[in-house]
Amino acid sequence: MNARLALEKLIVPIGLLLLWEATQRAGVLPTYLSSPSSIVAALVELTESGELPAAMALSLMRAYAGFFIGAGLGVVLGLIAGLSQGVREFIDPLVSFLYPIPKITFLLIFLLIFGLGTPSQIALVALAVFFPVFIPSRYAVQSVNQLYVWSGQNMGAPPMTVFFRVIVPAAAPVLFAGLRVGLAHSFVVLFASELIGGRSGLGFLIVDGEEAVRFDIMFVGIVGFALIGFASDRVLMALRRSALRGQAIGTEEQLV
């Protein structure tokens, strides 16, 4: 049953790959769209030369470093802003002013501060991750069921205990939703920063392939992003499932 289900899920992607290969060989597709077989060949070539693993490791490091800084600040400040009216009044106008600005525009500023390379890219990712994590964290605290807080206080919990053992777990489903969006943002912004801000990583592999008219290499870079993005999302979702065991019951997501 499970094997059949897995097979059914693969029908569409495999069919598309075959169609892509066949149309490229028939000369219908433009060469810049490459073909699955040449992409696999380039993938093997770049893996053996060590270029792809190095680029993936570098991009992953930058994305994660930026994600942890941005998400950490987003969750902590979001929780504090959710709790404190004073902090909200200070931080809300700042957030609504900065949020709509395309984050990539800050790259130039970061380049002036940190110079070309990894620190600027990490800073940009952190900035881009901060907003989609901060905003739901802030609202999550405010929308925590009052009865949970009252119950905690009623059972004799001091304020810090109520915060860490009632408010944080009650807000956790929304926190994870923010983290997931933040994680996706981190790869988007990282790619953009690698186009401009340095000469290494998967983003650079992609532009470099394009400039060298090695479209197969360009696609290998895209596949690399897909792999690390997909794997990271799965890891986050697995963490989420184990953290939210009780809260996911009866909701549709427990099936996913």
Binding site: L147, S151, Q153, M155, G156, A170, Q247
Partner: protein
């Protein structure tokens, strides 16, 4: 001296810039080991009254003393049970019941043993490792009751704890609560909109008037009465039911007239 003394308690809310009186100069004495049912039309301030006793909401004027000491912040000496959704959904049944025990500083093995024995008492011993979302509404309220028992308060505050349950489940839980209450006879304040529940459980029924809440009637239910399910069929029970229903009906009509005005 009464265990709980309420003196001239008033509570006003701000609504559209206007002060609305929810409770108006209410005074009440509750003795140790009484089970006081509070009934009244919806919106009469009976839940607000309970929240004030619990320390969750502030009073506007007046004074409340428990064993001679003024009340303020929420505290385990006044254990609260809500209508629904107050269990922590991220914890299992037994972890929920362990929570108040942990706050009291009991060691891990001691609180697990104590929580398990309380769960047996409410017939949930086999469900200790499930999450609240995996239980029916009636079972969830049993867990909430177990958590309240674990809290071991001086006085129990219950805010329509069976209000969201179906009629059969509610009757069974009333019988269980009655048996548990008879064991250790803790002073209890029980808010309900259900007259049958109020009489069946209470040693005393207090009827709140339409808003602003005042005491309209204070009726003793014979303490010695046998609270087996048969009590619900007795002539005393029916006489009380009719008396309270007539009084309540006047207030419900008043509340409705005010709403429509």
């Amino acid at each position: 001296m009464a265990l709980l003394e309420v003196r001239e308690l008033s509570k006003a809310f701000e609504s559209n810039g206007q002060a609305v009186a929810a409770i108006d100069r209410l005074s009440l004495d509750i003795d140790d080991r009484e089970f006081v049912s509070i009934v009244g039309p919806s919106g009469c301030g009976k839940s607000t009254f309970l929240h004030i006793i619990g320390g969750f909401e502030k009073l506007t004027a007046g004074e409340v003393r428990l064993a001679g000491r003024p009340l303020s912040a929420p505290s385990p000496d006044r254990g609260m049970m809500f209508q629904d959704l107050s269990l922590f959904p991220w914890l299992t049944v037994i972890e929920n019941v362990c929570w108040p025990l942990e706050m009291r500083g009991l060691g891990k093995s001691e609180r697990l043993a104590r929580a398990q024995s309380i769960l047996e008492l409410v017939h949930l011993g086999r469900f200790a490792t499930l999450y609240p979302a995996q239980l029916s509404g009636g079972m969830r309220q049993r867990v909430a009751l177990a958590r309240l028992i674990a809290l071991d308060s001086k006085i129990l505050l219950m805010d329509e704890p069976f209000g969201a349950l179906d009629a059969q489940t509610r009757e069974l839980l009333q019988e269980e609560l009655q048996l548990i209450w008879r064991r250790d006879r803790k002073t209890a304040l029980f808010v309900t909109h259900d007259i049958d529940e109020a009489i069946y459980l209470g040693t005393r029924v207090i009827l709140f008037s339409a808003r602003p809440g005042r005491i309209k009637a204070d009726i003793a239910v014979p303490v010695g009465a046998d609270r087996s399910p048969e009590f619900r069929k007795s002539p005393e029970y029916n006489a009380l039911r009719i008396e309270i229903w007539d009084l309540l009906r006047e207030e419900v009509l008043k509340a409705r007239a005010e709403q429509e005005a």
